[in-house]
């Protein structure tokens, strides 16, 4: 195990100051479920880990007017246990239930999931689906960036040295909206997503789609909303045919970006099925 320093920050201000230290290259540490796996094989690019996992300001889950605020150090277990999120962000709760296993859910955080930047991350598609903003602080100040814009490629983000994600906010979805998350792994726990889908939607009183979000994960090198799929849903009446067409469009859109890779033969079929299934869950009204 390589050697590095460790310090626990008690507040965001202290963490930001420690991260800005030019004498000592520092990186945030939250649950450590990515960092500690990485240093096992790759020599660390930092000299110190600044533990942000117990900063109270980064642990909040609350409603602020029309917005929901979730601290970056909130763990998956805390998300699963939150009544507020169960009500307002089903897709995020469902995703949290499917992350790793109990130990990982107890330690791993949403901030770590985003900052780690893996294309197969399960926490990120729900955030993008919810149109979440990441609130980033550094010694120069604070900024809010759409989560989708933070991601620049597999294991690459727009975060700079010294940046700390403090929390995420997302608007409360329209009335009657529902969201869901589906994960496809090679086994039922401790599995990297081969594909996943976060989706959300709402119907007008006439039963037409007025709100739609479709965010496949593990599908593109850079995660984003599939606006082309969302647009074709708007104004339509939900039907099996519509879900399948949307699924096919999602596959087409994926292949248009990735080209034909080794996994495309599989993923283009599976993604169609998953997107159709997610939309069915979101739009099918149970009697």
């Amino acid at each position: 195990m390589p050697m590095f320093d460790y310090v626990r920050a008690k507040s965001v201000a202290e963490a930001v100051e420690l991260l800005a230290d030019t004498q000592c290259v520092s990186r945030p540490l939250a649950g450590g479920t990515d960092v500690l796996v990485q240093v096992r094989h790759t020599p660390p690019t930092f000299q110190r880990l600044v533990d942000v996992s117990r900063i109270p300001e980064m642990k909040i889950i609350e409603r602020q007017g029309d917005e929901i605020c979730v601290g970056a150090a909130v763990t998956y277990t805390e998300i699963i246990e939150s009544a507020l999120l169960r009500e307002t962000a089903t897709c995020l709760v469902e995703a949290s239930r499917l992350v790793g296993g109990p130990a990982i859910a107890n330690a791993g955080t949403l901030g770590g999931n985003v900052a780690n930047g893996a294309a197969c991350a399960d926490g990120v598609p729900p955030l993008v689906c919810l149109d979440a903003l990441a609130h980033v602080r550094n010694s120069a100040g604070a900024r809010a960036v759409p989560v989708a814009d933070l991601l620049s490629g597999p294991h690459e983000t727009m975060l700079q040295r010294g940046d700390l994600i403090t929390h995420f906010t997302f608007p409360v979805m329209p009335d009657g909206a529902r969201s869901t998350f589906i994960k496809l792994g090679r086994r039922n726990a401790q599995a990297i997503s081969r594909l996943n889908v976060a989706a959300a939607g709402a119907l007008s009183s006439e039963g037409r789609v007025i709100f739609a979000r479709v965010v496949p994960g593990s599908a593109l090198p850079r995660l984003r909303r599939f606006v082309e799929v969302e647009n074709m849903l708007i104004g339509e009446r939900p039907s099996e045919a519509l879900f399948e067409t949307a699924g096919a469009e999602a596959s087409r859109a994926m292949v248009a970006v990735t080209g034909r890779r080794w996994s495309t033969e599989y993923k283009e079929i599976a993604l169609q099925g998953l997107v159709a299934r997610a939309l069915r869950q979101v739009f099918t009204v149970e009697n």
Binding site: H41, G101, L184, R186, R187, N188, A189, Q190, A191, I192, R194, L195, W262, S263, E265, Y266, I269, A270, Q272, G273, L274, A276, R277
Partner: protein
């Protein structure tokens, strides 16, 4: 011997595993927990090429690394450390050539693990690539690159040992006359044992110039023999002691002996204890696996479903070294036709060299591979004939009095029909089968499938089959046992304790069992082939009976009666005057009489006759049987397969330690589930891709289905109390049962293992781009020393 007959007191009743408490409280110590003063740490330099000549090997730079105490190569062993059984083809450290990525070339001992690693990295090792062979099906082509050692018997050097065969009648002609013939091709992939404890050894030099080695051996006596041979020491200066073992599944053979030899030589050179412990990544790269097998099978039948002929060709890819795989090939050949009657049968199995890692012993030992092929083919036959798969099996399966395809008459203990009928009933087969046949959903469908199997007990014609045990009463009146067979977590130590307690008529709490130690235990052959309960159990029973005889004599003397008049009340002895005398009193009296309260017992399996040239004979003393039914739900949109339920009924003879037996069955089914669906080792261009458990996927607790299990206790007269065995057979039918269930659900056959997402959805696997990174990271190789151009690929 006393003639008291009583119902069994401990055998077959609930009992506590002797090692349970230590393991759950963390008191059990594994090699990685051992620390002794002055201990050095060892680390291996391993090959970065799948096939290469060692052009230059200079260890002197390693000796310059601070903390490094010694470095060894093949030059440090007698005859370069050549060893191996049944084929002597491997060196304790590579000599002149390397044949797989991860093969050990040199070993460094240093004050710290970091210094040992730095030392290994400092060694100058130049490898000159040789032509490589990765496709086992081409290994015996005349122009295939030679991977195996030269042979002077006219056989292809890439053939390991002899080719294995079974012959009955004229299968080609019989097939030609069958109205129904199926011709199918199957493939089973490599499987990793995934023992929770990676390899580790600790060697300590002795003042006499010998060495004591602690190692989680498959067989401590084989390790001792190898060590004496390659170190040039008399065997009595080499002592091998078995610590607690964290699982083996057949995986702690050669790789442990090699590590032992390296650590032992380093200990002898430095005069200090030397420990070597593998990381999980190193374990996955360096260790042997279950072989991959290419199989072609033809089954011929009448229209009424009567099986008539089986023709089978198997090519067993066991990689760069033979290890135990010639025996695997033999067991595969014996079981290739499945547990059925045929008029004619023709089986050939070829075990070949390639540069794909290497394979060795693994639970099931050839049978899981061939069972996957034959049990699916039989299912397809049922489908073609419009017969229920269970009815077809009942019509053809082996029964008491039948003769097997090899010519063995089955005279006793054949519980297969009962297994099949029971599993049919408890799984509610007929209802589910009919119900699932009517599904129309295009999202998810359920299916139910069956597989049956038989499995030869113990070594069979592989070699001498005997075991020994010792028993003695210690001064504190506890009873001390030794066995030459090791318990990797299988529960055999508890089995022995129960048998000894039963025979002596004492409480099991009084009985303690040592772990094997070559200085105290009796060589009992290898702990393989699920042979511990029968071989070791019979030996323990004989030992305990010998001691019991002595104690009965003492009791008769004390109670002034004939031994036959003695009865037991609990542990106490009761004579004609009906007064109970404590067991301790009897022990005291025996000592006063000058009797020796220790004994040993030996047991030898009935003789086996097998004609390797004609493929006929009696391959095993007897067989265990089993039938499993799997219920699955397949996601038709993604290929994801959920196994919902497994029903398993196995005829294992008398059950001695029920929780242990069920534990073996549940564990075997779990390992079979992984083999079926998720566990996959790939060697593109010889470089293993799966080097940890994030990519090598064993089932988690939420993947394991509900398991309903039952035993049929069809007594075997040579087994202790009628016992047979369970360890390996438990996993044999799991994968084909799941495969048959998938076919029932989807209407499509998957003929390759593992039945991963791609194979279930598309019908074939997809190849990710290959990378050397996992190996680099696993072996901590600085990237520059990895070959930059791809090695030449054969064809």
């Amino acid at each position: 011997m006393s003639h008291i007959t009583q119902p069994l007191e401990y055998v077959g009743r609930p009992a506590r595993r002797v090692d349970a408490l230590g393991k759950v409280t963390g008191q059990a110590k594994y090699i990685a927990d051992y620390r002794v003063p002055g201990m050095l740490h060892a680390h291996c330099l391993r090959s970065t090429m799948p096939h290469a000549r060692i052009a230059r090997l200079d260890t002197t730079p390693a000796l310059q690394v601070p903390g490094v105490r010694a470095v060894i190569t093949s030059e440090d062993f007698v005859n370069h450390g050549l060893y191996g059984f049944p084929v002597r083809d491997k060196y304790m450290l590579a000599w002149q050539k390397v044949r797989y990525v991860g093969e050990a070339i040199a070993t460094v001992a240093a004050d710290t693990p970091q210094a040992a690693l730095a030392g290994a990295q400092a060694i100058v090792c130049e490898l000159e690539p040789l032509p490589t062979l990765f496709d086992a099906r081409r290994a015996l082509d005349p122009d295939a690159p030679q991977v195996g050692p030269d042979r002077n018997d006219g056989q292809h050097p890439n053939l390991k040992g002899d080719h294995m065969l079974v012959r009955k009648g004229d299968a080609e002609t019989e097939l030609a006359n069958c109205p129904i013939v199926l011709d199918r091709r199957y493939f089973t992939d490599w499987q990793e044992h995934a023992y929770i404890e990676p390899e580790g050894v600790l060697a300590m030099p002795t003042p006499e110039g010998g060495v004591v080695v602690y190692a989680p051996n498959q067989s401590p006596f084989i390790n001792q023999g190898n060590l004496a041979m390659v170190l040039g020491l008399p065997a009595n200066l080499v002592r091998v002691i078995q610590p607690t073992v964290g699982g083996s599944f057949g995986g702690k053979d050669d790789i442990i002996y090699e590590s032992s030899a390296q650590a032992a030589r380093l200990a002898l050179i430095t005069g200090r204890p030397v420990r070597m412990v593998f990381s999980r990544e190193e374990s996955l790269v360096a260790s042997y696996k279950r072989d991959a097998m290419h199989m072609d099978i033809r089954l011929g039948a009448d229209r009424d479903g009567t099986l008539r002929a089986c023709w089978f060709r198997g090519i067993l890819d066991s990689g760069a070294y033979a290890s135990e795989t010639p025996f695997t090939a033999w067991r595969a050949s014996i079981h290739a036709m499945g547990a059925y009657r045929y008029n004619a049968c023709d089986v050939d199995v070829y075990c070949v060299y390639t540069n794909n890692g290497y394979a060795g012993a693994f639970r099931g030992f050839g049978n899981p591979e061939v069972c996957f092929a034959v049990e699916q083919t039989v299912d397809e036959l049922a489908e073609m004939l419009g017969m229920d798969p269970i009815d077809l099996r009942l019509k053809n399966c082996l029964r008491l009095g039948d003769e097997t395809a090899h010519g063995q008459k089955l005279n006793e203990s054949v519980g297969l029909i009962e297994c099949i009928n029971t599993v049919r009933r408890i799984s509610d087969w007929d209802r589910r089968r009919a119900e699932y046949s009517r599904q129309t959903s295009t999202e998810k469908r359920r299916g139910i499938g069956v597989a049956i199997m038989y499995h030869g007990m113990s070594l069979g014609a592989e070699g001498a089959d005997h075991a020994g045990a010792t028993i003695s009463v210690l001064p504190d009146y506890s009873v001390d046992l030794t066995s030459g067979l090791t318990d990797y977590g299988t529960g055999s130590r508890t089995v022995y304790v129960l048998i000894a307690a039963e025979e002596l008529g004492v409480n099991p709490d009084r009985v303690h069992i040592q772990r094997p130690d070559t200085n105290t235990a009796i060589d009992s052959g290898p702990t393989v082939a699920s042979r511990s309960t029968v071989l070791g159990g019979n030996a323990m029973r004989a030992a305990a009976r010998n001691l019991r005889q002595t104690l009965d004599l003492a009791a008769a003397d004390l109670l002034r009666c004939d031994p036959q008049q003695l009865v037991r009340a609990g542990e106490a002895y009761v004579g004609p005057d009906e007064e109970a005398v404590a067991w301790e009193k009897i022990v005291d009296h025996a000592r006063e009489m000058g009797l020796i309260l220790s004994a040993h017992g030996k047991w030898e399996a009935p003789k086996i006759v097998w004609d390797h040239h004609h493929g006929r004979g009696t391959p095993y003393m007897a067989y265990v049987y089993g039938a499993q039914v799997a219920e699955v739900e397949v996601d038709l949109r993604t290929g994801n397969t959920q196994v919902l339920h497994i029903w398993a009924v196995h005829d294992i003879g008398k059950v001695i330690f029920p929780q242990g037996a069920y534990g073996q069955l549940y564990g075997g089914i779990t390992q079979g589930l992984g083999y079926a669906l998720t566990e996959q080792i790939t060697y593109p261009e010889g470089y293993i891709q799966e080097t940890n458990f994030e990519s090598y996927l064993i089932p988690t607790s939420v993947d394991v289905p509900e398991i309903t299990a039952q035993f049929i206790e069809s007594a075997y007269s040579y087994g202790p109390y009628g016992a047979k065995n369970i360890a390996e057979p438990s996993l044999v039918p799991t994968a084909p049962a799941i495969a048959n269930a998938i076919a029932h659900a989807t209407g499509r056959r998957v003929r390759e293992l593992p039945m991963n997402l791609e194979r279930v959805l598309l019908g074939h696997d997809l190849q990710p781009p290959f990378s050397r990174k996992p190996v680099e990271a696993a072996l901590k190789i600085p990237p520059r020393s990895m070959p930059q151009t791809a090695p030449r690929v054969y064809a």
